[in-house]
């Protein structure tokens, strides 16, 4: 039942990413991901694409997962939907959706939930829709997998939703093929398809990355409106800090398959504490501020997941690594638990705040 577990106002709590004491078997959050691990055995070695991610998300809230390529953010979202094939991926940990655990559930059960209670919007709406079927047929199919209704009823529902997501003349466009839609309209159709079953959880994986900025604004606006109307929980996967700042209530920053920092959007942008988060902010040119003379990039390149650096995966690129004898090279920092702010860094919290206030913030 909708809203059955809407008990927590603090929608975003932190958990330890390394295996340890679990919380009780009855999670209170609507989506509760605990110590999710997704590893791919390959010829070159074990790729630990996701290596212990935990977070919670309530209905009506938006969590942004931010990271660069290879950080594991997309793998995480596919893992929640159960879309990794068991012969290729080793998936561990727990994913609780409204009190039901999905990792240990039968594939058939996860399939029933997929598309119905949890749906996904993908990055490139052109390649994400089947070129040989009409937009309407694809939405009708998504509805009829989970509802025993006639084609006519499903078609009416498809037309309704296309209109709802802002497609003009939906009764006519429902019979168009994806290639007859513009990029923005395709993404709207994709959203209509995801929403056709009123999902409680909507996962959006880089939903605007392939779109132009004015279209991006339209789509973000649409997602925001629809979330208000349907009350879904939204998991927004993106590399774009601007997009998360626009949409997310809470943010989780991933690096090398692990979470390095998490907290509310305000916290992450106003007082970030992880050197990687500082680097991301320093790297980003801004339209809303006076021009800086130079950007402050992060040195080096993102790590290879096959051969992740020891200890803190960020240490080879971190200007503060090893200072005062902290064990950056040898020990994986755990995600220190704060009430609303988790940081996986060996630098002492007070020192992190001092560095940010004195060295980082003035230069941003």
């Amino acid at each position: 039942m909708k809203g059955a577990h809407m008990s927590s106002t603090n929608s975003f709590t932190t958990t330890d990413p390394v295996p340890g004491p679990r919380r009780g078997p009855d999670p209170t959050a609507f989506l509760d991901v605990r110590d999710l691990r997704i590893h791919f055995p390959t010829d070159d070695g074990l790729v630990k694409a996701v290596d212990g991610i935990s977070f919670t998300l309530e209905r009506g809230r938006t969590l942004g997962i931010v990271g660069e390529s290879g950080s594991g953010k997309s793998v995480t979202s596919l893992g929640i939907l159960g879309l990794h094939q068991r012969e290729h991926a080793r998936v561990g940990g727990e994913v609780w959706l409204d009190g039901e655990e999905l990792i240990s559930a039968s594939p058939e059960r996860v399939r029933q939930l997929r598309g119905q209670r949890m749906a996904m919007i993908f990055q490139d709406p052109l390649t994400a829709m089947h070129p040989y079927f009409t937009v309407g047929a694809q939405i009708v199919e998504a509805y009829r997998v989970h509802h025993r209704v006639s084609k006519a009823v499903a078609r009416k529902r498809a037309v309704d939703l296309l209109g709802r997501v802002g497609i003009p003349q939906p009764a006519k466009r429902v019979d168009d093929y994806p290639h007859q839609f513009s990029g923005g309209m395709r993404q709207r159709a994709m959203i209509a398809m995801a929403l056709v079953n009123n999902p409680d959880l909507l996962i959006a994986d880089e939903p605007t990355t392939a779109l132009d900025v004015t279209v991006q604004a339209q789509i973000l606006d649409l997602i925001r409106d629809l979330q208000e109307e349907f009350g879904s929980a939204v998991l927004m996967i993106t590399h774009d800090l601007g997009v998360v700042a626009e949409l997310a209530d809470d943010i989780l920053v991933m690096y090398g398959g692990r979470c390095v920092e998490e907290g509310s959007a305000q916290t992450l942008f106003r007082r970030p504490e992880h050197p990687y988060a500082w680097g991301l902010l320093g790297s980003m040119p801004r339209v809303d501020r006076e021009n800086r003379d130079r950007l402050i990039p992060i040195k080096g390149t993102p790590p290879s997941l096959i051969n992740l650096p020891s200890g803190c995966a960020f240490h080879p690129r971190c200007p503060y690594q090893g200072r005062d004898g902290i064990p950056c090279r040898t020990e994986v920092p755990s995600l220190a638990q704060g009430s609303d702010h988790g940081v996986a860094c060996h630098i002492a919290p007070a020192e992190r705040r001092r560095i940010f206030a004195e060295d980082i913030a003035p230069a941003l």
């Binding site: 003009p168 007859q180 839609f181 601007g242 700042a245 790297s283 040119p285 390149t301």
Partner: protein, 369 residues
């Protein structure tokens, strides 16, 4: 208010500080049908009559959304494409229709950097071969041999000169873009046309390359035409910015003027659409955001008069009838609009009114080309 067009101004100004002058530039790609008898049934008017100048030592940002013709413009001014109409004048010389052979000495002066560092480097060649190719092709004598010259270039763009014998696949995306930059710099060009040079890169790497481009400009006195869709990057790197929409330039202005006081309604909408990486300003940004309805019309059959009028909340009958000329409305700030944005429209109240008006423009639906 001055009503001189930029073309007139460009003609009147002494050519000394203008490295590149573009007047009435057009590129129409014909659409053909038929298997045996090919006939032209129309044309994609990718670039349809644009004027601008690039001054020596500056960075001109060229922004616009997909299909606006910015990349085609880049290829026209570096003469990878031949214009259908208009003129490209480089250092006082009309290069619009030079043959490949005639262009060869000029290729040293104008170089391009491309978006995709993966596909623009030959995977079978070593970095040394790739970066050294311009010397060999152009037969340029190097004082201490090609290898030394290449290693100097690698050092210049921040790569390890000892990696001379490595292949592109051994480098990361950011490093490959550095290789592309080194290749472009080999012949000490005056003008570099960079087409989306950082948009395929991760944020942290993007910043490295942007800084590198800035440093190189200062060190080597380069002139850039920087083509990008990312308005934040363009703001950071440009001295002046030109905004394109559907094959036309709608506004050109010094960077700060453009971002602070956009005068073309399209520029206003475009800038307001950029997501602001500041959750505290989220609500304000949304209140002031002008969401355009519908899609960009087809460049095969663009609207009459002003091309933006089908989505513009300020459009009137005149806009349908007459193509607005580029007029200089403030120093160096030229705008092609019959009813430019006024000061009152930039206030929060004015923005809100514009937002409502823009949202009520009926979307003209078009099928993409």
């Amino acid at each position: 208010m001055s009503t001189t067009t930029s073309t007139e101004r460009a003609a009147a100004r002494p050519a000394t500080d203008d490295l590149l002058q573009v007047t009435g530039l057009e590129k129409h790609f014909p659409i053909t049908r038929g298997a045996f008898i090919r006939r032209t049934v129309g044309a994609v008017r990718a670039v349809d009559g644009i004027d601008f100048t690039v001054r020596s030592g500056e960075t001109l940002g060229l922004v616009g959304e997909s299909g606006c013709g910015k990349s085609t413009t880049g290829r026209l001014i570096s003469r990878l494409l031949e214009p259908t109409g208009g003129k490209v004048v480089f250092e006082g010389r009309d290069i619009s229709h030079l043959s490949n052979r005639e262009m060869r000495p000029l290729r040293r002066e104008v170089q391009m950097i491309f978006q995709d560092p993966y596909s623009s480097l030959n995977p079978r060649h070593t970095v040394g071969t790739i970066v050294g190719a311009p010397f060999r092709v152009q037969d340029i004598p190097t004082s201490q041999g090609v290898k030394r010259a290449v290693q100097d270039l690698l050092k210049l763009v921040g790569l390890n000169p000892e990696h001379y014998n490595r292949y592109p696949h051994e480098f990361s995306g950011g490093q490959r873009q550095r290789i592309g930059i080194a290749r472009a710099l080999a012949l000490r060009p005056k003008l570099i046309v960079a087409d989306e040079p950082v948009s395929a890169l991760d944020v942290s790497i993007q910043a490295q390359v942007v800084n590198l481009l800035g440093d190189l400009q200062r060190e080597l006195n380069l002139t850039y035409v920087f083509i990008a869709h990312d308005l934040s990057v363009v703001k950071h790197i440009s001295d002046r910015v030109a905004v394109m929409y559907l094959g036309k330039i709608v506004e050109v202005a010094p960077r700060d003027a453009l971002y602070a006081t956009p005068m073309h309604p399209y520029t206003l909408a475009l800038l307001s659409a950029v997501p602001v990486p500041d959750p505290d300003r989220r609500d304000r940004a949304q209140r002031e955001r002008i969401l355009l309805t519908g899609d960009v019309p087809s460049p095969i059959d663009p609207p009459s008069g002003c091309r933006f009028r089908t989505r513009c909340w300020k459009a009137r009958e005149l806009c349908e009838r007459e193509v607005p000329p580029l007029r200089e409305l403030a120093t160096g700030h030229v705008v092609a609009c019959h009813f430019p944005v006024e000061e009152a429209e930039r206030t929060p109240g004015g923005r809100a009114a514009a937002q409502q008006a823009a949202a009520s423009v009926p979307p003209a639906t078009t099928t993409p080309v």
